[in-house]
Amino acid sequence: MNRLNREQMAARVARDIPEGAYVNLGIGLPTRVADFLPGDREIFLQSENGLLGMGPAPAPGEEDPELINAGKQPVTLLAGGCYFHHADSFAMMRGGHLDICVLGAFQVSTHGDLANWHTGEPGAIPAVGGAMDLAIGAKRTLVMMELLTKQGQSKLVEQCTYPLTGLRCVLRVYTDLAVFDLGADGARVVEMVDGLTIDDLSRLTGLPLARADQAQAI
């Protein structure tokens, strides 16, 4: 069984981002998707702190403290990119102008609920940032995450137990073992890694899983 590593997961997501797409890549794992976007495809990366047309990290010594991404890392701006204020930036996100948003998750439910901002632990200081805006604003909200926690529990669930970020907002989940489409009818397996069966996935997740008509190997 060829479980995907994080780079392979990022590469798999990148494959589904078409030329011309306006995309926000969430903090953490989704940020890596940028490294796998083919250079011959013009794709517009937005960062919610006010830039569109985000380029790669600057060369060492070229960092500008006033040119950062939402993760507060130094970035660059492509020719043709631009800056704008926070209300315009979130208008892009909430007004349905982004084609794709890729987010990490603690849990995703089979009908598309997302939990990725708060573990709900007592004593934890909550912080939400732009997570809730991203979850509900883009035309397509995608999640990338490992399917199982370190303790082996499925993060794809019937009902999220962590506090929700958004309701019925996730259309597709990319994991290290399979790709799932979500919807009112539940989760359908679009792709699996070699050597895995639907039954295996159902056992690992504890979920009834249907196979998409066009399901194939990742």
Binding site: E63, P65, I68, K72, L77, H85, H86
Partner: protein, 232 residues
């Protein structure tokens, strides 16, 4: 002649009072008006409500204000960061109240205050903890939460250049909340790297019209941190 520039940064913050609500620009350290905050710390006012995206990180800016014990409430979207230890400590000690607002709602509510709206139905947060107890409505099949404007007594923001009428332009992602906070506060203080003569800013590229800015203070551009390139 109208001249909104202040040579003395202390004089610019001299009327900020105990219990004031203060918007502070910046996303992380980009656009954080450190010098204005330092001037505010030098005054002995407290019980402040701070409206900012973060609750301070490291030792400067909002973090320093919190460390100094001047803040009783923070309205922000993302207080918890790896180096937000001053906020974390005060919060865990029960000394600071936190109102957590999704970042897009924060921006929209600030913009609504500046624009004179009474309330807005926003799509973000519906069905989550952060909308608990709030009025909701389904409009055209989509669910929204009713949110109210966030204004403030003062806004402290950082821009690149300003003129004596208060017109401002910004630098890169340091723009972030500056333009909308300037619109939402009763009194807006902008620190700039340079005050330029009237007419030096192209009227097509002014980002914040002077009507939204009451005071402009020039601060020396910070020396570029070791290993950093240009930082205009």
């Amino acid at each position: 002649m109208i001249d909104k520039s202040f040579a003395d940064i202390g004089a610019a913050v001299a009327d900020i009072f105990d219990g004031a609500s203060i918007m502070i620009g910046g996303f992380g350290t980009a656009g954080m008006p450190d010098e204005l905050i330092d001037a505010l710390i030098a005054r002995q006012v407290g019980d402040l409500t701070i409206i900012s995206n973060n609750a301070g990180n490291g030792e400067a800016g909002v973090a320093a204000l919190i460390k100094a014990g001047r803040v009783s409430k923070v309205i922000c979207s993302f207080p918890r960061q790896s180096d937000s230890h001053h906020f974390d400590a005060r919060y865990r000690a029960g000394e600071i109240e936190l109102e957590l607002v999704p970042q897009g709602n924060l921006a929209a509510r600030i913009q609504a205050a500046g624009a004179g709206l009474g309330a807005i139905f926003t799509p973000t947060g519906f069905g989550t903890l952060l909308a608990e107890g709030k009025e909701t409505r389904t409009i055209d099949g989509k669910d929204y939460v009713l949110e109210y404007p966030i204004g403030a007594d003062f806004a402290l923001i950082k821009a690149l250049k300003g003129d004596r009428w208060g017109n401002l332009v910004y630098s890169k992602t340091a723009r972030n909340f500056g333009p909308i906070m300037a619109m939402a506060a009763k009194t807006t203080l902008a620190q700039v790297s340079q005050i330029v003569p009237l007419g030096a800013l192209d009227p097509e590229v002014v980002v914040t019209p002077g009507i939204f800015v009451q005071r402009v203070v020039a601060v020396a551009a910070a020396p570029a941190p070791a290993g950093s390139g240009e930082s205009q």
